[in-house]
């Protein structure tokens, strides 16, 4: 994954490199061309000047040899030599590589020469003018170095500019991203996005606002619906229960009717439980238990074990409570009680007769383990109504409530199965 702003930077850098690489030979050709045409012009001017003077002046053969000798001594680039008629050709330009007279370290130097012919005293002479030119490879090297230097300058500039742009123009985008990342439908009732003067970001923020607003509304609606629905169900359930109580008092209840009546009681009790739990879940979600105080886990576990004593004894369950030290946590007492009751009642219900329940407390984490045979499906364990067992009494909400309580308190709950023990661990 690359960051958004690094991608164009890479492309820009690559493009700049290609263009600059192409530019190097082009520069070399252009500079060389200018060099050479300038030199040729210079040679030609010198030639014209020299020719004119030689043709208008009166020189003997000896004079000319003298001049050539002096030129050879003083100006090694110019020479005049006698030639014959047959060798006369039009003016020509040549290039030659030969060692410098003085600059011997540099290896061979490049020379540009102009050859011309003229008649002095009716005699044909050849005149040569030679000038040192910068070698093409030296030009190439110099231009390459300069180009590379500018390339580095360009990249540094790109990076700095990029940083500035990212810090300025993209700031609202990153703020929006951050807001979205930290948004929690469970906790927040609004998405706070920073104002921006960039049109695209403004549009993005508006769309996000609308989207989140609709989501929050739908979520709220769902929560209120659950709460209202379970409220409405309370009364009919209460009526069913009281009618059943009255029915039991009837004088002429045959064993058959009695059996049907007790068959009604169990599902009614389950219905009541589900409804109660849905209501509880909705209330926990709506943060209705926000009073917090310092509570001792040890005390609460002890109290819960006393409450469940009958059920433990009835199934001959062996409880090993290894909690020794008191640990204080800051939370709502009803929620802590509900959490522990749910964990323990789960453990009791799902352990077969004569099984074991182990309670431990380590580093602010409580482990409640019960013996069992098969690991549970961890993925959907904490979902609503995902009960993996065919347990008739389960409301299917116990673990969902545990998860919700844990979430509201910023705790953590984990499940693992090992050595024949289901373990639920809650870290406070």
């Amino acid at each position: 994954m690359t960051k958004l702003l690094n991608r164009p930077l890479k492309a820009f850098a690559f493009y700049a490199l290609v263009i600059l690489l192409i530019s190097v030979p082009v520069y070399v050709l252009v500079v060389d061309h200018i060099w050479i045409s300038e030199l040729d012009e210079n040679n030609w001017l010198t030639l014209q000047h020299t020719k004119e003077r030689l043709e208008t002046g009166v020189f003997t053969r000896e004079d000319l040899e003298q001049i050539n000798h002096i030129w050879g001594e003083l100006l090694p680039g110019v020479s005049i030599t006698k030639t014959n008629e047959a060798a006369i050709r039009p003016d020509s330009v040549y290039e030659i590589l030969r060692p410098h007279e003085y600059d011997t370290d540099d290896g061979a130097g490049r020379f540009r020469g102009l050859v011309s012919y003229l008649n002095i005293n009716e005699q044909p002479y050849q005149i040569t003018i030679e000038t040192n030119v910068e070698e093409a490879d030296e030009t190439l090297l110099a231009i390459a170095i300069v180009t590379f230097f500018f390339f580095i300058l360009l990249i540094v500039g790109f990076i700095l500019l990029n940083r500035r742009i990212s810090a300025r123009s993209w700031r609202p985008f990153y703020q929006t991203l951050h807001s979205l990342q930290s948004f929690d439908l469970n906790k927040d009732d609004n998405l706070h996005l920073p104002p921006t003067d960039i049109q695209e970001f403004q549009e993005l923020n508006q769309s996000l606002h609308l989207l989140v607003k609709n989501n929050i509304a739908a979520y709220q609606q769902q929560k209120t619906f659950t709460e209202n629905a379970s409220h409405e169900l309370q009364t009919p359930i209460a009526l069913l229960k009281s009618k059943l109580d009255l029915l039991l008092q009837e004088k002429e209840i045959t064993p058959e009717i009695a059996e049907i009546l007790s068959g009604i009681e169990a599902p009614l009790s389950r219905l009541s439980r589900i409804n109660k739990n849905l209501l509880l879940l909705a209330k926990v979600e709506n943060q209705q238990y926000s009073d917090k105080e310092q509570l001792d886990i040890k005390e609460y576990v002890g109290a819960a074990l006393i409450l469940f004593e009958d059920y433990l004894n009835n199934k001959n369950l062996f409880v090993r409570n290894c909690i020794q030290d008191s640990i204080l946590i800051n939370t709502n007492s009803f929620l802590l009680e509900t959490l522990l009751h749910n964990l323990l009642s789960n453990a009791i219900r799902h352990t077969s007769d004569g099984g074991q329940i182990r309670i431990e407390l380590q580093n602010r984490t409580i482990f409640i383990a019960n013996s069992g045979k098969q690991a549970l499906d961890e993925k959907h364990l904490f979902d609503r109504f995902s009960s993996t067992s065919k347990d008739k009494i389960s409301s299917g909400l116990g673990l969902a409530i545990i998860k919700e309580i844990v979430l509201k308190n910023n705790w953590q709950v984990r499940y693992h199965f090992d050595n024949g023990f289901h373990t639920f661990a809650v870290s406070f």
Binding site: S242, A258, S262, Q288, Y311
Partner: protein, 224 residues
């Protein structure tokens, strides 16, 4: 004994009245806030059953009214809300007890009986049932002056039975009475058998009559 039921759910009120009238209770009924306020300020009741969600007003303000008038009526809040805040608020305002809907009629009867008993100072807090007497204060039970040693649960059961004489009590109602709110977390209430069995045995050993009858398939009944 006069009982006022402040509750808008007609069918539920009828059930409560039906269950309670055979005891020596006289039940009156107010189905809305206005009627309830009138009845409360003009009459005295031994016990008021108060639903917090009433048409026309908040049940908690009826409690306030009672307190202002310095009335001694016992109040049991019946609430479908089952919220801790309401419970705490109600008890702070002077309610004597709180029962969340849905409840068993037997539980309500036992609560009413216990409340009225607490309010009667002349009875010395002793319940007498044939040769059996129960001292509510010291929580001791004697048969013909001989003490019977009961566990806390057996003692609770005994009071529950006496508060619901001649009524069939289902296992569920007994379990809920013993374990409270979370009895419905479990499907097996067999432990109730054990406690009832022990209670019967202990009473029998003290030469007390065998009043607790097992009703096939449904539960138990204190017959007298």
């Amino acid at each position: 004994m006069k009982i006022l039921i402040i509750e808008d759910e007609t069918a539920l009120v009828q059930d409560i009245i039906k269950y309670l009238t055979s005891e020596q209770y006289l039940c009156e009924w107010a189905s809305d806030y206005q009627t309830a306020m009138e009845k409360v300020s003009t009459h005295e009741y031994d016990c008021i059953l108060l639903d917090l969600m009433l048409p026309g007003g908040d049940g908690l303000s009826i409690l306030n009214q009672l307190k202002k008038q310095n009335k001694q009526d016992g109040v049991i809040i019946l609430s479908a809300k089952n919220s801790i805040e309401d419970k705490v608020k109600g008890l702070k305002l002077g309610a004597d007890d709180y029962l969340a809907k849905p409840f068993h009629q037997a539980e309500l009867a036992a609560r009413i009986e216990s409340l009225i008993r607490r309010k009667q100072f002349d009875s010395n807090n002793i319940i007498t049932q044939n040769e059996l007497s129960i001292d509510i204060h010291s929580k001791t039970v004697t048969v013909n002056e001989h003490p019977v040693s009961l566990t806390k649960k057996e003692y609770d059961l005994l009071l529950f039975f006496i508060g619901n004489k001649n009524r069939v009590l289902s296992k569920g109602a007994l379990a809920e009475h013993l374990s409270g709110d979370f009895a419905d977390m479990f499907d097996n209430h067999d432990f109730v058998y054990a406690h009832v069995k022990n209670l019967k045995r202990k009473l029998k050993e003290s030469a007390y009559g065998d009043y607790i009858k097992t009703i096939y398939g449904t539960g138990y009944k204190w017959e007298q």
